[in-house]
């Protein structure tokens, strides 16, 4: 399928376009239309093959930088605006731009969703160069949405029940999560995941850019343990950062929404077979 990629002045259905073009409206324009909804559409457009040199190409961008669902100062004093500005505005942005640059040169990887791209480039443990950037883009999107102003406290209802079922109590889960974060060496992440096969919640540590998608598990919340995530605010005091995250930042609302969605894919209950 060949799409027309065109800027408005030069968009032409003229004779030098050899392909049977789909309507230009299939090019998705993204976050300019839906900036504040939780779901941003990824902007995608397509390089024309070189036969169409006469048509001027519009900007090619495969993925966009999604904004956190709150203002950059909304997490003060637990995570400073300065941190958000550098972490989101520089680190996260760099991953997006680096990924787009890599994808320009690689036709085979074109056209995936970000989730698919991560699984593909993970290459079963022998990651391709695009993996790091793709995974870190996804990881940071997920991380911002795992936090909220006025976060912390406790999950409720179904999520709480599941945590109590799989960890004994919420306090036990919290202790285990913090312990995992503090025994992580180097750069990486800690996750609460729903394991598909085992059909239970678990705490998982990953290093560098790896995330549970590569094992086909469903992440529920994440915590960024790269030093850049906390150094400006907490310097070397990782313990304080982790505790602050659990007490004031973690968004159990986001976690509950993710759990609800996950249950479309993972059956957590016993089948309710009516007895005659």
């Amino acid at each position: 399928m060949i799409l027309l990629s065109c800027s408005s002045n030069h968009c032409s259905l003229s004779s030098n376009v050899m392909a049977s073009a789909a309507a230009p409206s299939t090019i998705l324009k993204s976050s300019s239309i839906f900036p504040h909804l939780g779901w941003g559409r990824r902007r995608r457009s397509c390089n024309l093959p070189s036969i169409n040199r006469g048509v001027s190409k519009s900007t090619v961008a495969y993925y966009g930088l999604r904004s956190p669902p709150y203002k950059l100062d909304a997490l003060e004093p637990y995570m400073s605006q300065k941190t958000l500005e550098v972490h989101w505005g520089a680190h996260h942005r760099n991953y997006v731009e680096a990924l787009n640059k890599q994808l320009e040169k690689n036709d085979i990887l074109y056209g995936c969703t970000l989730d698919e791209l991560i699984r593909l480039t993970y290459n079963n443990g022998n990651p391709l160069p695009e993996f790091n950037n793709a995974a870190q883009v996804w990881n940071h999107d997920f991380f911002w949405e795992s936090m909220q102003p006025g976060g912390g406290e406790m999950p409720k209802l179904g999520l709480l029940e599941q945590i109590e079922k799989d960890f004994g109590s919420f306090d036990n889960f919290k202790d285990k999560f913090i312990e995992a974060a503090l025994t992580s060496f180097g750069s990486g992440w800690v996750w609460l995941v729903l394991k598909r096969e085992k059909r239970c919640l678990a705490i998982v540590k990953t290093s560098n850019a790896i995330n549970p998608l590569v094992w086909n598990d469903i992440p529920i919340i994440s915590l960024d343990l790269w030093e850049h995530a906390y150094y400006l605010d907490y310097k070397n005091d990782r313990a304080k950062y982790v505790n602050t995250y659990m007490n004031h930042l973690v968004s159990w609302n986001a976690a509950a929404a993710r759990m609800a969605r996950a249950q479309a894919f993972v059956n957590l209950g016993e089948p309710k077979i009516p007895v005659a």
Binding site: H91, G186, S187, W226, H228, K235, N236
Partner: protein, 207 residues
Amino acid sequence: MDLTKNLTLPELPYGYEALEPAISGEIMRLHHQKHHQAYVTNFNKALHQLSAAVADGDTSAVVMLQSSLKFNGGGHINHSIFWKNLAPVSEGGGVPPKGRLGSAIDEQFGSLEALIQKMNTHGAALQGSGWWLALDKESKRISVETTANQDPIVTKGPTLVALLSIDVWEHAYYLQYKNVRPDYLKNIWNVMNWNYASAVYDKECPN
């Protein structure tokens, strides 16, 4: 083997502000007094636990402690070398190597600039945490290596010796350079202690 001999934090061979403006005093203070100290403290703790586990014949515990020993022990080894790899400008920091190391570099890499270029490329590309040393095999070749997390250079080869190291963990530069690691890599050469590197080279490669 005396498992109870504790590590101690080595002294810095210069003041905390001595490497400015390449590396700020604030970073040096935190890096030495907090990060390196934590490696020392945690290694001693793990060593103590190892000693108890060995005495009890608790094989599982012995195995479980390995990652902590590797991480914290490596952290201590690496940072102890790192402090010696740096020197204030007033004490020769940044002065290029002469003598046999200088010729070896020119011979194996083309020029000092080429070596610096290569090291900076590797260092900038290293994802996450890690180290990155130019060093000398018993085969007498100098090579640029990177290691992950706090793995010491011997994990790349038992006959490898560190000539130079550059800590690319974010804590080594973040407060000053934020995410712009390439600037840190460019400036650190101004305080690189080639005297130390030459001395190690001459010792390990006697003519």
